[in-house]
């Protein structure tokens, strides 16, 4: 089960801020949800079944790059803040 502290910690890991009210609601709801999904514990699984899923991956040769700058303006137009073709973000390394 998840306590209010667990919910706060999860929110911090997920980079979401919750109000006290939301922490309350989520803590209560998680009790029900985790009780439901916790049924999975009673499923017995033999080791040979516990294998990687049957999803295939494929690779392709590198090559035929698109023309340089073809998408730059389109992508840059979505930037919340830009400096020419650059994405502008806060300085994170200080020289002090």
């Amino acid at each position: 089960m998840a306590s209010a502290d667990d919910v706060k910690k999860l929110a911090a890991l997920a980079r979401i801020t919750l109000s006290e009210e939301e922490i309350d609601t989520f803590t209560k709801e998680f009790e029900g949800i985790l009780a439901y999904v916790g049924q999975i514990e009673s499923l017995s699984v033999t080791p040979e079944v516990n294998r990687a899923p049957a999803v295939r991956n494929v690779f392709r040769e590198d090559g035929e790059p698109h023309e340089k700058g073809k998408y730059t303006e389109k992508l840059a137009a979505q930037f919340p803040e830009r400096d020419g073709q650059y994405l502008k973000v806060k300085q994170i390394i200080s020289h002090d």
């Binding site: 890991l13 989520f26 999975i40 499923l43 699984v45 516990n50 295939r56 994405l87 973000v89």
Partner: protein
């Protein structure tokens, strides 16, 4: 012609265009004006597009030039779920986070439809990031069920389902991660298909659960679904999980079929009149000489629990990219970490946050073995169990949902909402193809509401779904 152009099925509209009974422009105008007229009440569309004159003219010219050889979707107006990218159009996934996001490229499915000269009526409402079974989790208001506006259309592809059921388009695309095409199809009385995992490229879909997601058709008839699915299918170098025709051997069935019914799963929770419709549909198959037999799928009862572990895990991972830096909702505070936090806190709705936190929980180091790894093992077990069942039967049948469409607000408890998916999630966990086709109507509060029948086939055997569903359609039980 007795039907108005917007009421036509895809096959009928394609025929009418070819015989010059109607023009592409007339078909577009009929759908567009129906969408504009009905949307204030239904809220099926988040945006109805203006006519693209060049696209309409090009479609007409192709029909004139190629006649019957023109692609089936040429000139056909389609509604597109808002988590599928159309170059230059907004794609918000019904979230505040992406409210002003403009797609910078076409999803592969859109490119394929454009290659056939299909037209796009608008982008349809949905639960935020495709999370929900009612469209009540949209950041832009609920969609109403055209059969009864007090009820939800289901979800998450509720906008697409309502758009088709209300004849505001000829057909639509949805996406299905745990039932998001099939459940709203059942609630709105239309046909919906979740293809074999990898049949349809996921390139250009806003990802929810990457090992579960598939786009698929939502249509007025089984034949329409077959046509639309064939138009969007195919191997794609931009989605390495797409399959080829050789991945699974040809699995068409000639003549009589054996239909398996997992009776033990239907023992509880199913509305009595839904069970009656289901039994009547099975009887209809028997009367055609098909065999109906019991199958045992004991792990299925863990399906929903496994799904609500795997899916949030993938959601928390996929949605980590939305941080207000390069695109989407962006809030600026004192530090970079504050920027991330504020952007995500304001951008995401409650259900999205709930699932991100759940996913974070089941993936955290103390719980990953008990939850995530156990759920992945359950998935492997389910796959093996279904493979074994399909040695004895051609299809597996259940009702799509345990009940007809519910009234707004009826499932405010998250677990009650999650139970809407109980019969549909298994196909996503195993990757098998599945269809929902109308099997009849039940009455609630004096209103007649549709309910759907659900068939699952082995991987790659969509043809079987279409064969069985078309036979049920012919019976006219709906």
């Amino acid at each position: 012609m007795t039907k108005a152009p917007n009421e036509l099925m895809l096959v009928e509209a394609a025929r009418a265009l070819r015989s010059r009974e109607i023009t592409v422009r007339e078909l577009w105008d009929a759908c567009h004006s129906a969408a504009v007229a009905k949307n204030p009440e239904l809220n099926a569309y988040l945006e109805i597009f203006n006519a693209d004159d060049a696209a309409i003219d090009a479609a007409q010219a192709r029909i004139e030039k190629e006649g019957d050889a023109a692609p089936m979707l040429c000139g056909i107006p389609l509604a597109i779920k808002d988590n599928i990218l159309i170059d230059g159009k907004t794609a918000s996934a019904a979230s505040k986070m992406l409210e002003n996001y403009r797609a910078t490229y076409d999803a592969t499915v859109i490119k394929k439809l454009k290659d056939q000269n299909a037209l796009f009526i608008g982008r349809t409402n949905m639960d935020e990031f495709a999370m929900g079974g009612s469209t009540e989790h949209s950041a832009f208001g609920v969609t109403k069920n055209p059969h009864d506006t007090k009820r939800t259309p289901g979800g998450s592809s509720g906008g697409s389902a309502a758009a088709v059921a209300a004849d505001t388009c000829i057909a639509a695309l949805g996406t299905d991660t745990g039932g998001s095409i099939r459940q709203p199809a059942s609630h709105c009385g239309i046909v919906g298909v979740k293809p074999t995992y990898g049949r349809v490229s996921r390139n250009g879909l806003i990802a929810m659960g990457s090992s579960l997601d598939q786009a698929g058709p939502m249509t007025k008839s089984v034949e329409d679904a077959r046509i639309l699915l064939s138009a969007i299918s195919g191997t794609d170098p931009l989605d390495s999980t797409t399959i080829t025709d050789a991945t699974y051997t040809n699995r068409t069935v000639e003549g009589k079929m054996r239909i398996g019914v997992p009776r033990d799963l239907l023992a509880e929770g199913l509305d009595a009149d839904v069970r009656e419709r289901f039994d009547a549909a099975l009887e209809a198959f028997r009367s055609e000489g098909h065999e109906v037999v019991d199958v045992s799928l004991p792990t299925s009862r863990y399906g929903l629990a496994a799904y609500y572990i795997v899916m949030p895990a993938e959601v928390s991972t996929n949605l980590a990219r939305l941080d207000g830096m390069r695109y989407g909702h962006a809030v600026r505070e004192t530090t970079l970490l504050d920027d991330y936090r504020a952007s995500r806190t304001e951008g995401f709705g409650a259900e999205t946050k709930r699932r991100i936190l759940l996913g974070t929980y089941v993936l955290s180091s103390g719980y990953i073995d008990a939850y995530y790894r156990k759920a992945e093992a359950a998935r492997a077990l389910l796959r093996a169990e279904y493979a074994k069942a399909f040695e004895g039967v051609d299809l597996i049948a259940v009702p799509t949902v345990v009940a007809p469409a519910f009234v707004f607000g009826a499932k405010s408890d998250p677990v009650a909402m999650y139970l809407e998916d109980v019969f549909t999630v298994t196909a996503n966990l195993t990757g098998a193809p599945a269809i929902s086709v109308p099997m009849g109507r039940v009455e609630r509060d004096g209103v007649s509401l549709p309910v759907g029948m659900h068939f699952t086939a082995p991987h790659g055997a969509e043809d079987r779904l279409f064969t069985a569903a078309a036979q049920l359609e012919e019976k006219g039980l709906y």
